[in-house]
Symmetry: C2
Subunit: 217 residues, 2 copies
Amino acid sequence: MTAEAPSDRTRLRRMHQRGAHDRAAIDPILDAGYLCHVGYTIDGSPYVTPTLYWREGDHVYWHGSSASRMLRKSEGAEVCLTVTHMDGFVLARSGFHHSINYRSVMLFGTARKVEGDGDKLERLKVFTDGLFPGRWDELRPVTDQELKATTLLSMPIAEASAKIRSGPPGDDEEDYALSVWAGVLPVVPQFGAPVPCPRLNGGTPLPAHVTDLARST
Amino acid sequence: MTAEAPSDRTRLRRMHQRGAHDRAAIDPILDAGYLCHVGYTIDGSPYVTPTLYWREGDHVYWHGSSASRMLRKSEGAEVCLTVTHMDGFVLARSGFHHSINYRSVMLFGTARKVEGDGDKLERLKVFTDGLFPGRWDELRPVTDQELKATTLLSMPIAEASAKIRSGPPGDDEEDYALSVWAGVLPVVPQFGAPVPCPRLNGGTPLPAHVTDLARST
């Protein structure tokens, strides 16, 4: 499963069988999520901020207010962007072998600002339509002022590693005879019923891009 | 909602109305989760690693293999531990006002190793029983070797901030008249049906501490 590590910091030090460096492992994990945690430093101290992200080809993108400290401190700086899907609790016969099933990706690199209004708008459209297909064109268009107030960062998917655990607990051989319940309790993210805005313009129908997503889980 | 910021790095720079520094806001967010993202640095570069955590009183704890790079590099070092609950997508009439509903906490401090076998065992019991009440005493006891192979870190909840967004989209006043569907698509984490280990000792019943958790969502 493992390809060559692209750098020392993505070298998998433990549980090699759980890790991978190839895009065939990395991209599906990135594409299955939308929330990441971005790590950056300020005066040498680590900070971790949750934010939405999306992938387009060989890059990941994230964005926010141009006033955001996270975006200002990440731009042109080294970051670590981590995406984690928690898939289940793994209950073993001993405390020691309890674990979780998960899929995670760590990306390292330097965050760069996306410049150019056309490029920014196109990336935001891809982001929006990636979650809610067709929504972008239904929205009130973005104003110049709004675009200016939005910072968009990108990072190439170059220095990356994926780590995956799945399947039942791995217990010590002699423990399998114990009458302790063991197995996996899956965690399944789901969408609830859409809640219309109290000020929704009367008669506005619930679009397919919301119902389809709500049904997808 | 806001109390005095305990430090400059927890001072809420933007969206003050969404933030808080008091334990009445912070503790429920910590207690509602189990997965955090720990930020630390190696040679000045940021790293973000997902791991399980738990709270006991005024401390958070996390643990893993003594060989874990994250634990070795975090011990005695500055870390940022972030917990995020994604509660829903907020769909507005303009792209600019799209948002997410979430609850998050950032904790800053120095991670300390929990020493002493008795203390370590007690913490691990609290962690296990916190998720699965009564499970600890049903398990095959921890061996000295396993305890030695486990590193447990703790950090006081001292320098912390919480951030929360909830409720419907906040659109520009003139946009409420548009016939664009707006509202919230809630994200609801759920547990799936427990999957017994294929090597489960015949007749071992599913314990209440698993079914109760599975039913809790």
